[in-house]
Symmetry: C2
Subunit: 313 residues, 2 copies
């Protein structure tokens, strides 16, 4: 019996992960601060605060998960990079991992980030590219990964670490890149972008979630980039969105300055994900962006616009 | 007013640090799980568990320390390298640092270790030698340092990190290298050593404590090796001890195999400590070892021997 405890299961990636885990035969136990009514979907929901070690420990002893998929973190857009909340999440994650191992857990997969890498070159290869995080978020995720990996080796725990790159899709903050183009255009307003020459690896959040489920269900260990492997200039993605919406006339590239420290390139080598985890995305960029456009059409683009005038990279 | 909260103040280094802090004009607040009766020495003792965040937070708000000197950690000889307690101490240390900053703290100094460095070459230089810790202890100390340093930069906290090398002196576990030679020889028994060709940097614990007090009282930031700068083959230190005790006849070099992974060399560059902190040791190797011999003569070498037959390096 594969039994997974899923943290952050109501968040951006986690909410998408539930069904992929269920499809792979996991008995899914979702832990969340909020009361969830997920039992009808065949998953088990537990209301608990990850900062309350005692309650979490009791939950682990009761559920006895074989697997732990840990997405929960502080993720408020624009604030998470520098927030001291990152330190609290390192501490809570270490407690969680210790108690999971003590309760007989076998495999742990955590959510890392491309921000763990040095971005000087910008092409990120696991176990090769230097890990010189620039942000507190990247340093905390990287520090947690290193400690968790060493601990897992010693405790006989199988452990992998999915490094998330640039993702988009349902329930995304309207201030993030993809909705910052979609929402104004759907509202018939100009989409004010930077030069858009930044190279990024964009992946639909549903694919990110499905890749994590595949990673959890594999025996692959260590860091694994979770990305498409395709390098896209942001201006091309913006142009594609505008074309699909039929408002290329409203796309304004170079209407705003990019941040001084905005990296030219952040792209991913995906050999491990493709050849070791043997995972393939469902969406390519075109179909993924179309899906995102359709979602915003159905889910309140009017309320979300005018989008905040900031294009994160 | 300089007001320091000292953790681990009843431990191997911390107990020695109290008077150096007082000499430098710090109002010393010692926090310990055990009840201490230090008020008579002019220091303030607080009984609290560093794992009890609420109590520690109340203490910080009451004391409002300007400085934090953090020695507390899991340190049981022979066990601390691999123990999962290291993870709990990372978590507790992050909470402590966050709450110290929130309570208006200005400067944090933590105790790191030479085990944070890659030992391939063995000569360790701050901000230069690769940080590839081999042990869970080293990984946890290194991860904490990296997170604390980034957080401090952002929070406007001044922070330094003293990396401790090989120390010896009063109240040391009899299983550690220096007492493992002193104790049997004082008991008229043979001291069974390894080949002793390991190169180490040995520093008397009183000097380690005095260096930390100087570091805390300086404005130097980042990692600083706390060591003598002198490279000593362990066999020379053993010979010196035997000679001082007058029992060179009982010294048995190469009587036991060294551990297969025992590093040939672990030595320290001390430019930062000497030129930036402007600190000098009180003891050289000869006077330091003599002091250790005298301490064991007065403090139960009979009860401690026969020493456990293990020479840590």
């Amino acid at each position: 019996m594969k039994r997974v405890l899923l943290t952050g299961g109501t968040g951006f990636i986690g909410r998408q992960a539930v069904r992929f885990l269920a499809e792979r035969g996991f008995e899914v136990h979702l832990v969340s601060r909020k009361q969830e009514s997920g039992r009808k979907m065949g998953i088990h929901c537990h209301q608990a605060d990850l900062f309350d070690e005692e309650t979490i420990n009791d939950l682990l002893k009761k559920v006895r998960p074989t697997h732990l998929l840990h997405f929960a973190w502080y993720a408020e857009h624009g604030k998470f990079w520098d927030s001291s909340e990152n330190l609290r999440w390192v501490a809570a994650s270490l407690s969680l991992l210790l108690n999971f191992a003590a309760a007989g857990g076998k495999r742990f997969v955590g959510a890392g980030t491309c921000a763990e890498y040095d971005w000087t070159d910008g092409h990120c290869v696991e176990n090769q590219t230097r890990l010189t995080a620039q942000s507190l978020y990247g340093v905390c995720k990287g520090g947690l990964r290193e400690i968790a990996q060493k601990f897992s080796e010693q405790a006989g725990l199988s452990m992998a670490w999915g490094r998330v790159f640039h993702l988009y899709g349902p329930y995304e903050s309207p201030a993030r890149f993809v909705p910052s183009v979609i929402v104004p255009l759907l509202n018939g307003e100009p989409a004010l972008c930077t030069h858009g020459q930044q190279l990024r690896d964009l992946l639909h959040v549903e694919d990110v979630a499905s890749a994590f489920a595949a990673l959890l269900d594999s025996e692959v260990t260590g860091p694994v980039n979770v990305a498409s492997g395709r390098e896209t200039p942001l201006k091309d993605a913006a142009a594609l969105i505008a074309e699909r919406i039929g408002r290329s006339d409203l796309l304004r590239l170079a209407a705003r300055p990019a941040a001084a420290d905005d990296p030219r390139r952040i792209t991913a080598d995906v050999k491990r994900l493709r050849d070791e985890v043997r995972w393939r995305p469902k969406y390519d960029l075109e179909s993924g962006l179309q899906e995102a456009i359709d979602w915003w059409k159905e889910h309140g683009f009017k309320e979300a616009g005018p989008a905040r005038r900031r294009v994160p990279s």
